[in-house]
């Protein structure tokens, strides 16, 4: 690590994202920091969806108890819960596209001030595919992005306009980064919260997008 990140660390970002979730919600968590959100839901009654075809995703299995027929969308071995149900992928994306999932918490490469999201490809680099990300952002009621505020070069990942190919247009509702929390509102982004030890000036300085009051 060349420079220590300011503000929240990965776990603190995940814990902050978990505050977005309410009792009774059906939620889809993306890969990376979003996966950690499951560790911070506490006593809240949350049902996790895995888009390959499962509601009620449980924790990783104990060693020796892995089941090749039971994996999450990141292809990791997982377990089932008393509430678990299984279904095929068409049904799974029916509930996603149909707005039945209350919230999706996803990582991102870039987010624009109008809610545009880019998180699936970098032209000229190896292209892996969008998986279920385009369906999720198009259909889920509330899309929350959790990501580092800046990239490895120190440049803002929050922009006036995305430079990378989009995953969805105007789909993001809230952005949680190491520096704080921003909402996508008419005209730009609104600062909702600052991370510990981060000033409003620092957040504004690190953000290459319109911030409205």
């Amino acid at each position: 690590m060349a420079e220590e990140m300011k503000g929240w660390d990965r776990d603190q970002m995940a814990a902050r994202a978990a505050e977005e979730l309410e009792d009774g919600m059906y939620v889809n968590l993306g890969i990376g920091i979003p996966t950690l959100v499951a560790n911070y839901v506490g006593d809240k009654d949350i049902t996790l969806q895995s888009e390959n075809g499962m509601l009620g995703m449980g924790p990783f299995p104990y060693e020796g108890e892995e089941d090749p027929d039971l994996i999450n969308a990141g292809k990791q071995t997982i377990t089932e819960l008393a509430r678990t149900s299984y279904f095929d992928s068409a049904t799974s994306f029916g509930m996603i596209r149909g707005g039945k999932i209350a919230a999706a918490i996803l990582g991102a490469m870039e987010v624009a001030e109008n809610g545009d999201l880019a998180n699936w490809m970098i032209p000229g680099k190896l292209v892996k595919g969008m998986g279920g990300a385009m369906d999720l952002v198009a259909g889920v009621k509330r899309v929350i992005v959790v990501m580092d505020h800046t990239n490895k070069a120190g440049e803002s990942k929050i922009l006036t306009e995305c430079t990378l190919p989009l995953t969805g247009k105007g789909v993001v509702d809230r952005i949680i980064t190491n520096l704080g929390v921003l909402d996508v509102v008419p005209g730009g982004l609104k600062i909702v919260e600052l991370a510990e030890g981060v000033t409003e000036d620092e957040l504004r300085e690190a953000t290459r997008a319109t911030i409205v009051d």
Binding site: F60, A90, G129, G131
Partner: protein
């Protein structure tokens, strides 16, 4: 009605031809038709177009058909686990059509249900929408996606009876039912063919009408990412 065959090669007899279109079930390496894929490798059939969420990994699953260069085009949502795929794609040997995962699943379900196309919000305003019909419903934009009808569907289930009624197990169900529906002919491999009447009719995941040929066999069921927690974390 004789649907049960002795092995994968016999079950595919007369169904394969160069340039054909195959729908395959499975997500990652979970619930993939390993035995049928092996038999397709052995058949040497080539110039295949395959609709499948992923393309296996190097040397396993559909990855085997890449090694033998039998695939001309893939229709997939995610292919990041396969170095040979990338090599063939970047060198222009292999065609690739990315479909969002839910769009791919719905294309298969629709094709098998007599629905030629459907409008979806997925991909609106992205490269996926390029060249596709856009229509506004209730003030929101949707794009037209076509149903998939494949020459052949290859599918993996847990149990079948001899009439082709299928039961899947846990998340190994995934793309298998929609893939099965999308095939003009569907060949299924299962872990166990059970006696007629022993499956609960209320708990059939896919009715036998979609299934034309069945084989039973041993599956490797390789795990792509073993992830565990420690006992003391209870």
């Amino acid at each position: 009605m004789k649907k049960v065959y002795a092995n994968a090669t016999e079950a595919l007899d007369g169904l394969l031809h160069d340039g054909m279109f195959i729908s395959a079930g499975g997500f990652g390496l979970c619930g993939i038709p390993e035995l049928l894929i092996d038999a397709i490798v052995d058949s040497g059939v080539k110039d295949l177009t395959i609709a499948s969420n992923n393309c296996g990994v190097d040397g396993f699953g559909l990855g085997k058909l890449l090694d033998t260069k039998q695939i001309r085009k893939m229709i997939s949502s995610y292919v990041g686990e396969n170095a040979e795929f990338m090599r063939q794609y970047l060198s222009g040997e292999l065609e690739l059509e990315f479909n969002p995962q839910g769009t791919l699943a719905e294309r298969m379900r629709a094709g098998g249900s007599g629905i030629a196309g459907f409008y979806t919000k997925t991909g609106v305003g992205t490269v996926i929408a390029e060249g596709k019909d856009v229509k506004v419903f209730d003030g929101e934009e949707y794009i037209l996606e076509r149903g998939i009808v494949a020459d052949l569907a290859i599918v993996k289930a847990w149990k079948a009876d001899d009439t082709g009624n299928l039961v899947f197990r846990k998340t190994a169900r995934n793309f298998n039912p929609p893939a099965a529906m999308s095939g003009k002919i569907c060949v299924v491999e299962v872990e166990e063919i059970v006696e007629r009447g022993s499956l609960d009719p209320d708990n059939i995941h896919l009715p036998g009408i979609y299934v034309h040929r069945i084989i039973q066999g041993e599956h490797e069921k390789r795990i792509e990412k073993v992830t565990t927690r420690k006992r003391e974390e209870v």
